[in-house]
């Protein structure tokens, strides 16, 4: 069995009887065991997987086949899974067995997918290196000394290492796209509102969006179709037509924003230029566009995300669920000790930053100012989409960096998100896909589209991936 088979290939293998869902589940469970040192998973539900695989085999025999019947996928541990630990990689939720399924989990189950486990991540999705997890860092399967990116680092590394056919992730300021880039997989952050946030543990509610990490744009589309759609349980869920993942390609104007390309290192510029030439050779035309407020995005993002996080995380009080400090003397101590013990240092840093931005005397200078610039950033994109159909940018200023290289320096870590936060602030869909290697590590590029333009991004991604093989590269496999 090929651990790097696409969802499409697994679908036909299962339907043709080349292998059973039970065999497939055993195959991935064995691989997960063998790759334990990568630390991709917080929870693996072997018993549940095998029971679900038996049901899938019965469904396939009865010709009741959904798009993902029998296909093992993993969920980022930010999605609530009924009866399974849902920790958000935090000590705060180290004992939290979710009492219900997130809408994303429920929809993927209905499409037939088997939940093979829950993937490791940065604590409460706050991080760009997967080093803030209570369960320890995830290693990058391309180079075990390097980070996989974050915060959906476990999901990206699991797909890259062939431990699951695809994974879910969540993206607040780049948390699907940057790990996808660092691990050489394809990740999509959908338009804000396209995928329900119900049961996805909240970090920054005006930015958070769930999406797929997969082997190709085609597989990402298959997952998106299963995940997306209006949900009455999420008051910010958008009413939109399902994404057309089979639309045919047309000649596009591809916007090249100087603000994203000018400061790029020579080695990444070389890879990105080559990708641009490939896209041009497919009949698309590169046009210059301007996104003048790009350099303010990191500051705006850390104010808004911090403010929303400080509000969202005030729910963790040690009373109804989650970590509770032992024998507090009074209610104030109960709150303070439970929170101080339950949250790690990056989470505390963000709560305090957000509290500062929202506090009396600073609200106008920080929070309100950030919201004003957020509008300018969004307007830049709307203007650019008057000139171009899609915008092409790098995903990250570097390839995967070494563990511990940036963890003590929050500012350098935050600046890793410089190319991904603008689309988040504007609520735009963005696709991260492999476009080359630099020093033996994968490099990703980003397509940013207009609101609800996922079809355009995925079609262009499929077209690029039918012309190139970067998405088909995988790390040297030490476990076979």
């Amino acid at each position: 069995m090929n651990p790097y088979a696409s969802v499409t290939q697994l679908r036909s293998g299962l339907d043709n009887g080349d292998f059973s869902a039970d065999e497939l589940a055993h195959f991935y469970l064995d691989r997960i065991d063998a790759a334990e040192d990568l630390n991709c998973f917080i929870t693996v539900d072997a018993e549940g997987v095998l029971a679900a695989a038996k049901r899938a085999d019965k469904a396939i025999a009865d010709k009741r086949i959904g798009p993902l019947t029998g296909i093992p996928i993993a969920h980022k541990d930010i999605f609530c899974t009924r009866g399974l630990l849902t920790s958000c990689a935090s000590r705060m939720l180290n004992n939290f067995v979710a009492p219900y399924d997130a809408t994303v989990v429920d929809r993927l189950k209905r499409a037939g997918a088997i939940t093979i486990g829950k993937t490791n991540m940065d604590e409460f999705a706050m991080g760009s290196s997967n080093e803030t997890s209570f369960y320890g860092p995830v290693k990058n399967p391309w180079d075990r000394e390097c980070v996989p990116g974050g915060s959906s680092g476990g999901s990206a590394a699991a797909v890259a290492a062939g431990l699951a056919a695809a994974c879910t992730g969540s993206d607040t300021g780049g948390s699907i796209r940057q790990p996808a880039s660092f691990c050489g997989v394809t990740g999509l952050k959908p338009t804000y509102g396209r995928v329900s946030r119900y049961g996805m543990i909240a970090f920054a509610s005006s930015l958070d969006q769930g999406g797929p990490l997969a082997r190709s744009a085609s597989d990402a589309g298959t997952l998106l179709n299963a995940m997306e759609g209006y949900d009455p349980n999420d008051s910010t869920s958008a009413i939109a037509d399902p994404t057309d993942i089979f639309s045919s390609s047309r000649a596009l104007k591809i916007g090249i924003p100087s603000q994203y390309w000018n400061d790029l290192s020579p080695s990444l510029t070389k890879v990105l230029e080559e990708a641009r030439r490939t896209l041009e050779s497919l009949g698309h035309r590169a046009v210059p566009v301007e996104l003048p407020h790009t350099n303010a995005a990191t500051a705006v993002y850390y104010v808004i995300a911090g403010a929303e996080a400080s509000t969202n995380l005030s729910r963790y009080d040690g009373i109804r669920y989650g970590h509770r400090a032992a024998s507090p003397e009074n209610l104030e101590d109960l709150y303070q000790f439970s929170r101080s013990e339950g949250f790690g240092s990056e989470v505390k840093r963000r709560i305090l930053t957000g509290t500062y931005a929202l506090s009396v005397g600073y609200y106008d200078a920080y929070y309100l100012k950030a919201q004003q610039i957020r509008r300018l950033i969004r307007q830049d994109f709307l203007d650019a989409f008057g000139e171009a159909d899609v915008i092409l940018t790098p995903v990250s200023p570097s390839t995967a960096f070494k563990r511990e290289a940036l963890i003590e320096d929050p500012i350098s870590m935050y600046q890793q998100d410089i190319y991904t936060t603008p689309a988040s602030l504007a609520g735009l869909p963005a696709l991260s896909l492999p476009c080359g290697v630099s020093d033996q590590m994968p490099v990703g590029m980003q397509f940013i589209g207009p609101h609800f333009g996922e079809s355009l991004l995925l079609t262009l991604g499929r077209e690029y991936q039918s012309e190139t093989d970067w998405h088909a590269l995988h790390p040297a496999d030490n476990h076979d």
Partner: protein, 93 residues
Amino acid sequence: MDQQTIDKLLSLSRLSLLPDDREKLLRDLSSIVGLVDFMRSIDTEGVEPLAHPLEVTQRLRPDEPDTSFDQEHYQAIAPQIRDGLYLVPRVVE
């Protein structure tokens, strides 16, 4: 950013820190404030704040009775309960 501000933020956030962590936090928050102060250089005169990327009104469900949550199921994950109530340290003597 000074120790007094840190104290106030910690108290508002219901958090506490070890003495060593306080020094680092002061340094980190000072540099984060330095980073976000870049926003001052942007002219936002007359720009409406943007709270939500799609600028749509939040949609509410119809106000109709629906299946209720199962209290026992949801309280099974609570640290301390008795007779369906959440227990906390004594508030009124």
